[in-house]
Amino acid sequence: MSAPLTTNLAQIGKSVVIKGELSGSEDLYIDGQVEGTIALKGNSLTVGPNGQVKASVEAKGVVVQGKLEGNVQASDRVELRKSAVVNGDISTQRISIEEGAYLKGKVDIQGRAEKAAGK
């Protein structure tokens, strides 16, 4: 499966290995290995089917098709596709999980709690 070709999409191919802090203001597609932290406030992260990410993730949206180990904080939504293997806590407003996805961790839906607190 290849990443969607859009002008504002940065891609990390499957032979690429990165250790450290990743931040940016465009969408990111990772099909390689990344270890560290990923901060994409206002943008989306996609972990491709070959992607192996060991990082805490902060983004607007997160789509996982591969492996992700670390906590995920998404301001909008998280999608775990059927091949996803996620070890970590997820905090988001909306989440969709396909049948077959594996999740070990907490799911915290933020929007609802915030609304309740605001009442």
Partner: protein, 239 residues
């Protein structure tokens, strides 16, 4: 065709022959009414946000069910975790066992008294013998006082081939059961046709009788049995 019909019958053997069970989505999913779940539903219908631990196979339906009601859910598939080859060790007599200390160092790592509800499903029936008591002990410790745990146990009439299911909550007392299949292998036969072999999921390790179940949950304050018509005993225990 024979194998298809055999598999279909196998699905039913471990579940119900009563009217409560119907096949959905081909023969892959069954629904069943659960009295234990119905009793638990009174707890999560409350306005208070709860902390719930689901130690069955990852269920999108359960995650959706609880998060829609404002509860916090933790998902941890302990059966899959127990297949880690790194857990294999030997006891003092040289018999192969799983290393329960290592297992508990890597799984169910939560502060004491964190959860209001633990959904155990049929885990004890399929978990390796060496892990059952340590895991139940850990589940006791992560439950809050008055916290509740729901578990299902096969009766001896269920038979050794009873399939292991993933449980999805679809209504307050209705579950959808989806058979767990560990892997699919496709190969091309001599005629060129592609054959897909689906290996069975987890094997039933043992059948607990009532006394075994009471012993297993002896540290809990109370235990309630619900007998179902499908060779399954539902057990609701309170810490």
């Amino acid at each position: 065709m024979a194998s298809v019909s055999q598999n279909f019958m196998k699905l039913f053997r471990g579940s119900s022959s009563g009217s409560e069970t119907t096949a959905t989505q081909g023969s892959q999913k069954l629904t069943r009414r659960s009295s234990g779940l119905g009793e638990l539903a009174r707890v999560w219908d409350s306005e208070t946000p709860l902390c719930i631990l689901d130690v069955g196979s990852t269920s999108p339906a359960n995650i959706r069910y609880f998060t829609e009601r404002g509860h916090r859910i933790y998902s941890e598939d302990l059966l899959v975790s127990s297949t880690d080859p790194g857990l294999a060790t030997k006891d003092e007599e040289g018999k192969p066992i799983l290393d329960s200390r290592k297992f508990l160092a890597e799984n169910l790592v939560y502060p004491a008294a964190q959860f209001d509800v633990v959904l155990c499903w049929n885990l004890p029936d399929y978990l390796d013998e060496s892990l059952v008591r340590p895991v139940m002990g850990r589940l006791w410790s992560v439950l809050k006082p008055q916290g509740m745990l729901l578990a299902f146990f096969h009766t001896k009439d269920a038979g050794p081939d009873s399939p292991c299911y993933r449980f999805h909550i679809i209504e307050k007392d209705v579950l959808e059961m989806q058979r767990i299949v560990l892997k699919r292998e496709s190969r091309r036969g001599p005629t060129g046709a592609v054959h897909t072999a689906v290996s069975d999921g987890f094997q039933l390790q043992r059948v607990f009788n009532n006394r075994h179940i009471e012993t297993l949950f002896r540290d809990f304050a109370s235990i309630k049995f619900f007998l179902a018509r499908d060779n399954v005993r539902e057990v609701l225990v309170v810490r």
